[in-house]
C-alpha cells in the first residue's frame, strides 16, 4: 500500500508520464482486443467503395481495395507491438546475461563479449537489421531476431557498467562472507539491483524497436502485404500521396508516431523517477 502511495505521488508530479502511461495501457488494450474492437473486417475488400475520404461510416477513409483504414490501423497495433515486445524481451534477456557475466567475471569473457558488441556496433544498425533479415530469410520471426540482435549491445553495456560499479559494494562483500557462491551473488544480489536501469532502457528501446519493425516492413522486409501493419500501410499509401489521397498513409503513420512518442515519454519519465541525475 505504501508502495502504491509513492507511485501515485510520483505520477501526479509528472503529468506527462501519467498521460503516457494511460496511452500505453490503451495501446496494449487495442493490441489485445483488436479483433473485437474493429467495426469492419480489416481484410474484407469492397472495390465499389475504394479510396473514399474519411467519413462517418469509415472514420479514417478506405484504401485502394475499399478496406476500412480505421480497422486496419487498430489491427496493425498487434503486429508492430508484438515484434517490438518480442525483440526487446529477447534482447534484454540475452543482453543482461552476457553483460552480467562479462562485468562480473571480467577477463577473457569480458573481452570476448566486448568485441562481439563492438562488431555489432560497427554497422549502422538499420542496415545490419536489413542484412540479417535478408540473410536469414524474409519472414516475421527473423525480423524479431534481427531487431533483438541490434538492440542487444545497449543492454550488454548498461548491465555490464552497472555490475562493474556494484560488484565492489559492501553488500556484495557481506553476501560473500556469509558463504554465497559467485553464481548466487550474481543472480540474487546483483541482478535485482540492475533491474531499475534495465526497465528504463527497455521502455526507451520499445519505441525505437517499433520504428525499426515498421521501417523494415516499409521497405518490404518481414511482414507480407495483406496483413494489416503500419509500415506496409504507409508504403501502400505512398503511391497515392502524389495524387492527393492523403488518408491512406497519414493515419497509420500518425498512429506509429504517437505510440513511439508514448513509449519515449514513458521511458524519460521512468528515468527521471528512478535516476534524476541522468536527466538531459
Amino acid at each position: 500500500m505504501k508502495q502504491f502511495e509513492e507511485w501515485r505521488y510520483l505520477l501526479l508530479q509528472n503529468p506527462l508520464t501519467l498521460i503516457a502511461l494511460i496511452a500505453f495501457i490503451g495501446v496494449v488494450i487495442c493490441a489485445l482486443f483488436a479483433p473485437w474492437l474493429v467495426p469492419y473486417d480489416p481484410l474484407a475488400s469492397d472495390t465499389a467503395n475504394a479510396l473514399q475520404p474519411p467519413s462517418w461510416s469509415n472514420w479514417f477513409g478506405t484504401d485502394q481495395l475499399g478496406r476500412d483504414i480505421f480497422s486496419r490501423v487498430i489491427m496493425g497495433t498487434r503486429m508492430d507491438l508484438g515484434i517490438a515486445v518480442g525483440a526487446v524481451a529477447l534482447a534484454a534477456v540475452i543482453g543482461t546475461f552476457l553483460g552480467a557475466c562479462a562485468g562480473f567475471y571480467g577477463g577473457h569473457l569480458d573481452r570476448a563479449v566486448g568485441r562481439g558488441v563492438d562488431i555489432i556496433m560497427a554497422f549502422p544498425l538499420f542496415v545490419l537489421a536489413m542484412a540479417i533479415v535478408a540473410g536469414l530469410g524474409n519472414n516475421v520471426i527473423n525480423v524479431v531476431y534481427a531487431s533483438a540482435i541490434i538492440n542487444m549491445p545497449f543492454y550488454v553495456r548498461v548491465v555490464r557498467s552497472e555490475i562493474l560499479v556494484l560488484k565492489n559494494a559492501g553488500f556484495v562483500e557481506a553476501a560473500r562472507l556469509c558463504g554465497n557462491s559467485n553464481k548466487r551473488i550474481l543472480w540474487f544480489q546483483l541482478l535485482p539491483n540492475v533491474s531499475a536501469p534495465l526497465v528504463v532502457q527497455m521502455s526507451l528501446n520499445m519505441g525505437w524497436s517499433m520504428l525499426n519493425a515498421a521501417s523494415l516492413s516499409f521497405v518490404g522486409l518481414g511482414i507480407r502485404p495483406p496483413t494489416p501493419e503500419w509500415g506496409i500501410m504507409v508504403a501502400e499509401g505512398a503511391h497515392y500521396i502524389i495524387s492527393g489521397q492523403w488518408w491512406l498513409a497519414l493515419f497509420p503513420g500518425l498512429a506509429l508516431t504517437l505510440v513511439v512518442l508514448c513509449f519515449n515519454l514513458l521511458g524519460d519519465g521512468l528515468r527521471d523517477i528512478i535516476d534524476p541525475r541522468r536527466r538531459t
Binding site: 560497427a122 554497422f123 549502422p124 544498425l125 538499420f126 542496415v127 545490419l128 536489413m130 542484412a131 535478408a134 519505441g207 520504428l211 515498421a214 521501417s215 516499409f218 521497405v219 518490404g220 522486409l221 509500415g231 504507409v234 508504403a235 499509401g237 505512398a238 500521396i241 502524389i242 495524387s243 492527393g244 492523403w246 498513409a249 497519414l250 503513420g253 500518425l254 506509429l256 508516431t257 513511439v260 512518442l261 519515449n264 515519454l265 538531459t280
Partner: protein, 283 residues
C-alpha cells in the same frame, strides 16, 4: 563464384576477390557490384552530407539558444523538436513533406530522382551534382539538383536534428554553470567571447561524438529516404537487390557502409583530440 564449392572455399574466393576490389557481379544489373556502387555512392553521400549539414546549422544554434535561455519559448521549441524528432518515422516525415510541398503548395518538384526530366547531369568530376554543376558554371542544373535535394535532405535533417540539439543544450548548460564561466563573466569579457570561445569549445566534445553517431544513423535511414524519394543511391540499389535475392550487391552495400562508418569514426576521434588535447593524452 564457385557455387559448387564448400561454404568456406566460397568465402575464401570472395575474400580473395575483395582484396582486388572485386565484390562480385550483380545478377539484376549484370554489372560488377563495385562499379554499380561507385556510380551510386555520390548520390547517397550528397544527400546524407547535405542532411547532416542542415541538421548542424539548425541544431547547434537551436541548442545554444535553448541553453542560454532556459525555460523560454525557444527552449520549449527545442524540446518539442527533439522529442518529436526521435518519434517521427523518417519515411512518414518524407511523405508528409511531399504531400505539403509538392501536392498542396506545388513548391517542390516531383520526388523522382536527382534531376528533373529536362536537365541532363553535369560533367562528372566529383559525382556530386551540386559541386559539378557549380564548377561547370551551369546554374540551371545547379538549381534543378538543389530543388530535388532539398526535401529529402530536410527529411534526414529533421531526424538528425534531435540528438544534436539535445546534446548541445545539455553540454552547454553544464558548462555555463561552471566556475570558469563565472570568472570570465566577472572579468568582464564580452558575452560572445564567453559563449563561443569558452563555453562552446568546452562542450563541443560530446557534440562531435554525437555527430558521428548521428551520421551512422543517417547512413541507415538513407535507405528509407531513398525509397520514398526514388533517389538513385546505394540504399535503393541494395534494396532492389535485396527484394530480388541478389546477394552480391547487398554484401557490397553493407561492407561499403561499414567502411564509411569506420572512416567516419576515425575522423571523429581525430577531431576530438584536436578539440580537446587531453583526450589524446589520456588514451
Amino acid at each position: 563464384m564457385g557455387l559448387n564449392e564448400s561454404l568456406f572455399s566460397q568465402f575464401w574466393i570472395y575474400l580473395k576477390d575483395l582484396l582486388q576490389g572485386d565484390m562480385g557481379r550483380s545478377f539484376t544489373t549484370g554489372q560488377p557490384v563495385t562499379q554499380d556502387l561507385m556510380e551510386r555512392l555520390p548520390a547517397s553521400l550528397e544527400l546524407t552530407l547535405l542532411g547532416l549539414f542542415i541538421a548542424i546549422i539548425v541544431g547547434l544554434p537551436l541548442g545554444m539558444l535553448a541553453a542560454t535561455h532556459p525555460n523560454s519559448w525557444i527552449d520549449h521549441i527545442c524540446r518539442l523538436l527533439t522529442t518529436s524528432g526521435v518519434c517521427l518515422p523518417t519515411f512518414f516525415t518524407g511523405l508528409v513533406l511531399i504531400y505539403i510541398f509538392y501536392y498542396l503548395l506545388g513548391w517542390a518538384p516531383a520526388p523522382m530522382g536527382r534531376l528533373d526530366l529536362f536537365s541532363s547531369p553535369p560533367q562528372d568530376v566529383t559525382g556530386f551534382y551540386l559541386i559539378d554543376s557549380a564548377l561547370a558554371g551551369e546554374w540551371a542544373i545547379f538549381r534543378s539538383a538543389l530543388a530535388q535535394l532539398i526535401l529529402p535532405s530536410i527529411t534526414l535533417a529533421l531526424f538528425a536534428l534531435a540528438p544534436l540539439a539535445r546534446i548541445t543544450r545539455a553540454g552547454l548548460l553544464g558548462v555555463l554553470n561552471s566556475d570558469f564561466i563565472r570568472s570570465a563573466k566577472a572579468a568582464g569579457l564580452p558575452r560572445r567571447v564567453i559563449l563561443v570561445r569558452y563555453a562552446l569549445r568546452n562542450s563541443l566534445l560530446p557534440v562531435v561524438n554525437t555527430m558521428g553517431m548521428v551520421f551512422s544513423y543517417l547512413l541507415g535511414i538513407n535507405v528509407l529516404v531513398e525509397k520514398v524519394f526514388a533517389w538513385p543511391g546505394i540504399g535503393s540499389y541494395a534494396l532492389e537487390a535485396l527484394i530480388a535475392s541478389d546477394y552480391a550487391p547487398v554484401q557490397g552495400f553493407v561492407l561499403s557502409i561499414a567502411v564509411l562508418y569506420v572512416l567516419l569514426n576515425l575522423i571523429v576521434d581525430l577531431l576530438c583530440s584536436l578539440i580537446d588535447p587531453r583526450v589524446e593524452r589520456a588514451a
